[in-house]
């Protein structure tokens, strides 16, 4: 592996910056940093479905929230240590992704988009109305346990941040391996030409569901981290607007790992920086979104040639 080309240098600078960041940040910016890491992970998981799979998913906060709520419920009502809930918080959203996306996976672009919005809204209303008596209603669940490993508290903001860094690297690993694996190649193929992929015997529906399940599982992992960071979960954090955020992260940034990171920065960190503008913030931010798409219709850092996601091709 060469470490001299532009890409590797970029990664080394980025990783170094990530690792030394807590030394410079005050508590507010450390929290922003942790949330940036979590949103990047969820943004990357949305990229598996939207960018790589070419499926218009605008309900991704559903899986993010499902992971967070699984962790919170297992911790609060079943007394399970919060770190042990992680496997469940990954598996539960993945299973639900298959069950929920299964019937609608064949829908064409915009119809899938509105169905996924619908799934997200149904989820939020179920949680808010506390249907099963375990979601805490509109207030959510708070006062979760502090994660511990070998008797060491991992609840401090710095520890949460470094856990986030670890999970982000893990996600990088999954993403790069996915591109080189059989399912990754299948996704790549049917995104470019669904009919051709089918005709040589690729089971496109199965791979579509696979992409949904994988994306949902990783989003669930992000959800656990989110629950740990705030020691609480509440419905507003996973509503439809949040799905719009993840959707925009992929499209503004472009369907590539550096693209998603830049997308998360633009869509989440920039508004935090301009927090002082208060009421003007989202007015300007909206213009920035329009400008970003007008200037870079394929995202700031789009996927390279040969990895062009389907949404970039005109119908």
């Amino acid at each position: 592996m060469k470490f001299t080309d532009k890409k590797s240098i970029g990664y080394i600078v980025f990783i170094t910056a990530l690792l030394i960041y807590p030394g410079f940040a005050d508590s507010r910016w450390l929290a922003v940093g942790s949330t940036f890491l979590i949103f990047s992970v969820v943004g990357l998981s949305e990229d598996i479905i939207l960018g790589k799979g070419g499926m218009f998913n605008m309900g991704h906060a559903l899986f993010f929230g499902m992971g967070a709520y699984t962790a919170a419920i297992l911790n609060k009502f079943f007394g399970m240590p919060i770190l042990y809930t992680t496997p469940f918080a990954i598996i539960v959203p993945a299973i639900f992704a298959i069950l929920l996306a299964g019937p609608i996976i064949h829908l064409r672009g915009d119809y899938l988009l509105v169905s996924t919005i619908g799934l997200n809204i149904v989820f939020i209303q179920l949680v808010q109305n506390d249907l099963f008596g375990i979601t805490g209603g509109p207030n959510g669940i708070f006062g979760l346990d502090i994660p511990q490993v070998l008797g060491i508290d991992l609840g401090s903001p710095t520890a949460v941040y470094y856990t986030g860094v670890f999970v982000l690297f893990l996600t990088f690993l999954i993403m790069t391996n996915l591109d080189r694996s059989k399912p990754g190649r299948a996704l790549h193929y049917f995104r470019l030409d669904d009919l051709a992929a089918k005709s040589i015997g690729i089971n496109t529906s199965a791979y579509r569901l696979f992409a949904f399940a994988l994306g949902a599982g990783i989003a669930g992992l992000g959800g656990v981290l989110f629950a740990i960071q705030y020691s609480a979960v509440s419905p507003e954090a996973f509503n439809f607007m949040q799905s719009v955020l993840f959707f925009s992260i992929v499209l503004v940034g472009g369907s590539s790992i550096p693209g998603i990171l830049i997308g998360t920065f633009v869509m989440f960190v920039l508004p935090e920086i301009f927090r002082d503008f208060a009421t003007w913030r989202y007015f300007i931010f909206g213009f920035a979104m329009i400008l970003a798409m007008v200037l870079r219709p394929e995202g700031i850092l789009p996927a390279k040639f040969g990895k062009i996601p389907a949404y970039m091709k005109k119908e």
Partner: protein
Amino acid sequence: MDTFFQQLVNGLTIGSIFALVALGYTMVYGIMKLINFAHGDLVAMAAFVGLTIYDRFLGPDTNSFVSLILIFISTGIIIAFAGILLERIAYKPLRTAPRLSAVVSALGASLVIQNGIMLIWGPRMRFFPTDILPSTTWNIGGIHVSFIQLSILFLSVIIMAGLIFFIDKTRVGTAIRATSLDHDASKLMGINVNNIITLVFIIGTFLGAIGGLFIGLYYKGITFNMGWNYGLYAFVAAIIGGIGNIPGAMVGGLLLGVFKALIAGYVSSVWADALTFALLISILVVRPTGIMGERVAEKV
């Protein structure tokens, strides 16, 4: 049974508002294949503009019938201008771009309009005066029908019939249908596609503005962020009917309005959103392109 008919009347009223707003979504989608997420916020803006015109320029001294006509026309024109501006700034540069880029641009435009309303009119709820329209209510066999409900229903029917006539029978309507089928072929036939798109935005936003004013007159209270909610419902109505299909949007709007009112009457309005989207997904599972949407064969 009274509850049923009462909710049917309420549902048809709100349903015709949904239908008017849904027409804006469906017409823009038909011609540009774009979900105009900013449409709902233009609808909200219409309610605020209409209220301001009433407060500033007309007031209670003017004859209410004259002032209402003036409000509808001037608000419609202002919102149609906003619609043209929206298309020029946010959508025209992206006409040849990937489809989802325009969706993100639309989401950005929605944020701009929504927060623009908040910056101009403030974040608090504003109220339409109650004396604009006579508050007469008729009691027909135990079912209450108000003057506002009747006017909304009556006007919506006239507007929709006019629109269908315009699209189906006139030359310009034919040009709109041709453009929604194929931009390039329409250009070759001498249709000015840019003008047609502008026209569709004018009609769509004008209908949306009427819907927004109806919301203000019917519910009285308006907030800067109500566009998302009404927009989403109208958009769902357009999808249920088969997006791009004009009669479909009308049917979808009425169906959704009645469905929502029946839920409020028999279940509980806290479940309205969840059950509405459950209905939407069930319809799409059975009919993947909506009730009246045509099945499009995949091009090879």
